[in-house]
Structure formats: structure tokens, C-alpha cells
Symmetry: none
Subunit: 398 residues, 2 copies
């Protein structure tokens, strides 16, 4: 429906996404949420003067989303229709250069004895060990059957692999027994056109085993989450806006790249992020400004840290909104409540700063968002609302 209504103008829309923003009343903090407790005069000032509030449900009622579905839905893609594979997310998170046609996989070093995986995580070997092993593998295994292999170490026993070549398929079973003390498993093709890919992946696994056979603990690798760039309509095309992503964490720049947004260099801090935003403001209509710290604090269950993260963001809000966008959306990709120390299904508080003069006249936090005039909507419905407030949609029907 949106397709036929999109207007071409230079109105700007900014998405200020505080990862894991949503929280729940915290019994240890007077039943406040971090967003409620934070001193955020700039956000609350904008909310009270020209903000409307609501809540977004990332995927569906009761569903806790990962980062992939959380962000896909924010940008108006149905997260149940589209998927960013786990391998893809992993290589994006490691800042690897994923290209169309590449096959990505998550990988673990593991311990194998007599064909049985005795420890899927190789005793959680330290990151430096993983770096050493990855360097060794990279030095010897550059290609299998003409398919280039690129690997990069992650944290602890984890690493990621990109296979680059023609005719690769992601129709593969995991090369992972998924439990300790099960037989070591190679991958198998789930359809005929994945036969070559299965041979390549298993060739790689075999080469790694040969290389590591003298290692005392990490003597094999498990690969899983085989996936390629999703076939997804680029954001720029879908909404006829040039889009720029600004994010300190690689995974979010990666997701933006998957959606066809432009990405600038990694900002060192919020001030540099704002500087990148300013420098590129004239060349784009849509800006995805991602903040990770709220989610990290939520994952740690650290209420004070989450409050501090929100207050830090509040400090840069005047510089961002001062650029004069037609609409600024402040929300999260999902909730990460401190009491739960992880992602959750709770609706995420939403603030739309408007230029229409309308306002709910309320400070921005979960409890006010329940009674905001935007209501509780699905995250995938946020883009149409943002486009409307951005004055980028024509009337439907006469």
C-alpha cells in the first residue's frame, strides 16, 4: 500500500534507537524503570512540547526478539517473513565484509575424542588461543575446490567463517551435534543444489582437523547457522529515501548494510556519531542512529548503568534534533529489562517528536507510553507512522 503513496521530498526522519530500551518496574528501585528514573530534560522537554507516545511490539505478543527481527521490524520488514540468518549476524557482528553470494557460518572450536565431541566449547579456551588457531588456519586453508575461505576469531572459543565463490547454497544441516558426547557431525546438503557447498564446508572442516590434530583441547571445529545475505528489498528502494546508519557496534552497521543503507566509519563515541550525522545530514533523508549501551546495561541487570546510558544519550539529543528533522523517532529494537538480564517480549516505549504541533504533554517512559496517543502498535507499523509524520505519504484514494 505504502508503495503507491510515497512522496519525493527532502523531509528528514531520524530513528534514534536505544537498543534494549524497554524495561519493567524494578522492585529494587521503587518500582521505577530506568527510563523513568533517568534525568533526561531534553527528551522529556521534546516529549512534553511536541511528542506523541506509544509502544511497539517487535514481533508479536509474548515473543522475545533477537537483534535481527528487532531491527527488521523497526524498518518495516515483517520479521516473520524475512530473516537474517545466524551466520550472517555473526560475521556482521565481527565486522567482516559480507557480500552477496557469500555463505556465512558461526563456528566453535571443540574437543573431539575417537569421533565423539566431548566438549562443544573446547573448555571455553581464551580468546588469544582462538586468535592463534584462526591465524594458523587462515595461513594454510585459503580455498577449498576454488571457494575462498575467510575466517575471523570472536570471543572465547568462537569464530566465524565466510565461504566466497560461485554457486554456494545455505541449504545445509549444522555441522554440529548440538550436545556434548555425541558423534562429531559433518554437514549434509538439504537439497541437491547444495552438494558442492556441503563438499566445500566438509573439506574445510577436515582441513581444520588435520591442522589441529596436535592441539591438546581445541582439535576440531563445529560450524552452524549457514546463511547468506537475505533477499530483501533495499530500504532506499522500499521507502524512496537515502538512508545512513550510524552505529558504534559492527552488528548494527552490518544489519544496516544488509538492508542497503549506507554506513560510515565506526564512531569512537557519541560526539563523533553526532558529527557524522551532521556532516551527512544534507545527503540523506533517513538516519538510523544506534546506541548499544542501554542493552548492555540491561543484559548486565545494571539499573544504574542503564539510567546512565539513557542520560548520556539525552545529552546529545539537542545536537541531533537541532538539525531540524520533520520527525524524530526515539525507541528501541526490543526490551532488555534489568530484572530479566536479557531480551524480553515487553512492548518498547516509543516517542515520536513531531512538527504538527500535536503532543501528549507527557514525559517519556514506559508508564506514560501505555496511555500515549499512538497506542500500542507492531514495530513493523512504525515506518508508516514515521513516514506520515515525516510528511512523506500521499492520500490514499479520492
Amino acid at each position: 500500500m505504502i508503495d503507491d503513496l510515497l512522496l519525493s521530498n527532502d523531509n528528514k526522519i531520524i530513528f534514534l534507537i536505544l537498543d534494549g530500551l524497554g524495561d519493567i518496574p524494578n522492585p529494587s528501585f521503587n518500582l521505577q524503570t530506568p527510563l523513568e528514573a533517568a534525568k533526561k530534560p531534553n527528551l522529556d522537554g521534546l516529549a512534553a512540547k511536541s511528542g506523541v507516545l506509544g509502544r511497539i511490539i517487535p514481533v508479536d505478543i509474548g515473543i522475545t526478539p533477537g537483534s535481527g527481527p528487532g531491527h527488521l521490524s523497526l524498518f518495516g520488514y515483517d520479521p516473520m517473513e524475512h530473516e537474517i540468518g545466524r551466520g550472517v549476524l555473526e560475521v556482521l557482528g565481527l565486522n567482516m565484509d559480507l557480500r552477496e553470494g557469500d555463505l556465512a557460518a558461526r563456528a566453535n572450536f571443540c574437543t573431539v575424542r575417537d569421533g565423539v565431541v566431548t566438549d562443544r566449547r573446547a573448555g571455553r579456551i581464551p580468546t588469544e588461543q582462538t586468535e592463534r588457531l584462526c591465524a594458523m588456519i587462515s595461513g594454510s586453508v585459503r580455498e577449498i575446490e576454488g571457494v575462498e575461505v575467510i575466517i575471523k576469531p570472536g570471543k572465547s572459543h568462537r569464530f566465524a567463517v565466510i565461504f566466497r565463490g560461485a554457486g554456494l547454497s545455505d541449504k545445509l544441516t549444522d555441522a554440529d551435534p548440538h550436545k556434548d558426547n555425541k558423534p562429531f557431525a559433518y554437514t549434509r546438503a538439504r537439497s541437491e543444489d547444495a552438494d558442492l557447498t556441503a563438499r566445500v564446508v566438509n573439506g574445510f572442516i577436515g582441513a581444520v582437523m588435520d591442522l589441529l590434530k596436535a592441539e591438546p583441547v581445541a582439535n576440531a571445529a563445529l560450524l552452524r547457522g549457514f546463511s547468506s545475505m537475505p533477499d530483501i528489498k533495499p530500504f532506499t528502494e522500499k521507502y524512496r529515501m537515502k538512508a545512513l546508519a550510524i552505529a558504534t557496534y559492527p552488528m548494527y552497521r552490518g544489519i544496516a548494510k544488509v538492508l542497503g543503507m549506507d554506513v560510515r566509519q565506526e564512531p569512537a563515541d557519541y560526539d563523533e556519531a553526532v558529527r557524522i550525522l551532521k556532516e551527512n545530514y544534507n545527503d540523506y533523508q533517513f538516519f538510523f542512529f544506534h546506541v548499544k549501551e542501554t542493552d548492555l546495561a540491561g543484559e548486565d541487570g545494571n539499573f544504574e548503568e542503564k539510567v546512565k546510558a539513557i542520560e548520556e544519550v539525552d545529552r546529545i539529543v539537542p545536537a541531533i534534533y537541532g538539525l531540524g528533522p520533520q520527525a524524530m523517532i526515539v525507541t528501541g529494537d526490543h526490551s532488555t529489562p534489568c530484572p530479566l538480564k536479557g531480551h524480553s517480549w515487553h512492548p518498547v516505549p516509543l516517542l515520536i517528536v513531531t512538527k504538527t504541533g500535536e503532543t501528549d504533554g507527557l514525559a517519556f517512559h514506559e508508564k506514560n507510553c501505555v496511555r500515549g496517543s499512538v497506542g500500542t502498535i507492531y514495530s513493523k507499523e512504525l515506518m508508516p507512522a514515521a513516514l506520515a509524520h515525516g510528511m512523506r505519504l500521499d492520500k490514499y484514494g479520492a
Copy 2:
């Protein structure tokens, strides 16, 4: 679902539709909305005593509807499935007698020089000129290839055309370059069964050019929005209620006719409209009472006028509700916020006056409607709610 649950009784349901009713907090008027500022003791009295509140979303979140989709959805037709064409809306708005099988088109007088449309609006010639030219054309061009042609002048350079005959199709391209200084365009058939219709329309266009060749400015006509009566299940059949439409503006009587509602004469004012309602009250179960003035004031951005329009309606509410309907619904087809001077995507305030004894105990305006017990629903879901309150729906399942 509704189909199998419809009860046959004489319970009455009145839809009091204030066109463009919804608005947003207005910074120039103490952040009130017109509905909030209006002194409307009758509506607020009913709302507080026996009203439940909510909001309706005409088409979808962020989508600004035209009058067609706005009304279709009010009456329970999915506005994304059904469409009333632009030509149809235009002839209805001019109070022309559109019949099944007719082909309707919007038309402009324009200026053509050497085959190029130099001015699509013929210098916006005054209405009297358009009336003169239409009379001239009507006098000479009565039929083309056996197809009757009926034309009627509108405002300024606009007029409308009905083609009446067997085998007409609306599968035609616009006979309009849509921009100045482009070559004059005839229509083309978009499917084979529209070949005859294309010949007829182009024959008409040619005849008009011949007739107007001596005119200094308006020497040709552009036709667009070719459309016929939509194939839509009549309201009366869909809901097993005899339905009467009362509206001062032709377009809304026209939409009602398209839906198979009965229509009485054009009321001169609200009092006559109420009189028509009273006179016909026993013969119908459903009444669509349309008020245009709220939308006009919104389009003008005139807050005080919109307040006044609402207060004027409030004056006739006792006479309407005094008839004793089982349910009276007061809402709009869309929002027309004064600050935006046009239709908008904002949910529309909804009041259902009930006979169950239930009430939200709140005055009727946008802010209270956010927290009303009906919630925020899609307009197409309003009819089931109205039928329920009208005690016209049986239980589903045992």
C-alpha cells in the same frame, strides 16, 4: 463471520458521521482540539451517562484516507479490497445519476497548441465559462457509436462525464499527460475488451476539440479516473438492515447509493435533515447521517469554525437520539486536523451511545477516546461493534 450471526429485528442503529471530525492538540488554542473546546452538553451528557469511547483507524496506521476509503471502511468494507474510482466520486459529487454499467470520468478543460498541452487547466477559466462550454458540448454531442454521453460542469475548469451504453469497460489509460507542455494524449485500452470504450471516449474527445477549435483558451478536454460502479455487496444485504442516507453533500449521498442505501432529497439544513430522519424512522433500521461542515472547517484550518460546526451538531443531537435507537455511533470518516488543513492519518474519535447501561463516564474528545473502553480499532471493525450494541448479532458457537 458476521453473515451467519445476523439477527432479524427492528433495532435501530444511527451513524452520525461528522466528516473529518478528528483533530490534534492545537498549540494556538491551549493544546485543545475542536471537539475538546466545543460546548456540546448533549453529546457529552450522552457520553458520560451511556457512552463508551474509542478510536478508529480508517485504513491503516499512518495512512491518510480520501472520502471513498474513509466511508467504505466505516460501513465495514475493507478499503484496501474495494475502491470507489475517482471518476465515480466526481460524478457523485456533482449529483449526477450514475447507474450500473455506466462509465464515469473526471474532466478538465485545457489549452492545446500544436498538439501540446500548454495548460492542463485552461488558465483555470471561471465556472461560468465551463458552464457555457458544457452546454455547447451537450447540445451537439449526445452519443458516440450508440453510447450516450452525459456531461455536467463542475467548479472552475472542471467537469464530469458519464458514458452510458452496453459493454463499456474502465480498463483505460488516462487521456491526460498529467503535466503541462507534454503531447496531448488520447486514452488507450488496457485490455482487449476495452477497445470499444476507448474508441467512444476518443471519439468524444475528438468531437469536443472540433467544437472548441475557435475557443481562445479552453480548446480541448482531458479525461481521467475512468471508473464504474464498484462490484460491492449491497449494505442492506450484507447486514440485513434497510439503510437510509441523509446528507447535504451530493458525494456522500452518492457513496451511499453505490452501497445500495436509500437516499432522500437533499436537506436544506440540519433541521430538515432531522425531519427526514424522523419521517423515515419506522421504515429503516440503519441511518447514515452525514455532516460535512466539520471537514470544511478543518480543510480551512479554521479552529473556531470547526468548534462551531460541532456545537451546531450538538444542538440536533437530542432530536436524533430522542428517536430511541438501540445504538448511536458518533464519529468521523477520517481526521482533518486544523493545523494540517487537510485529511490526516490520525485515528478518529469514536462515541458509541449504548442501551446496556455501560459507560466510560467521560466527555467525548480525542484525549478521552485514547483511554476509552472500545480501544483503538480499525474503522472496518466498527460495524460489528455497532451491530453488537444494536443487539443485532447472535452468539458465535455454542
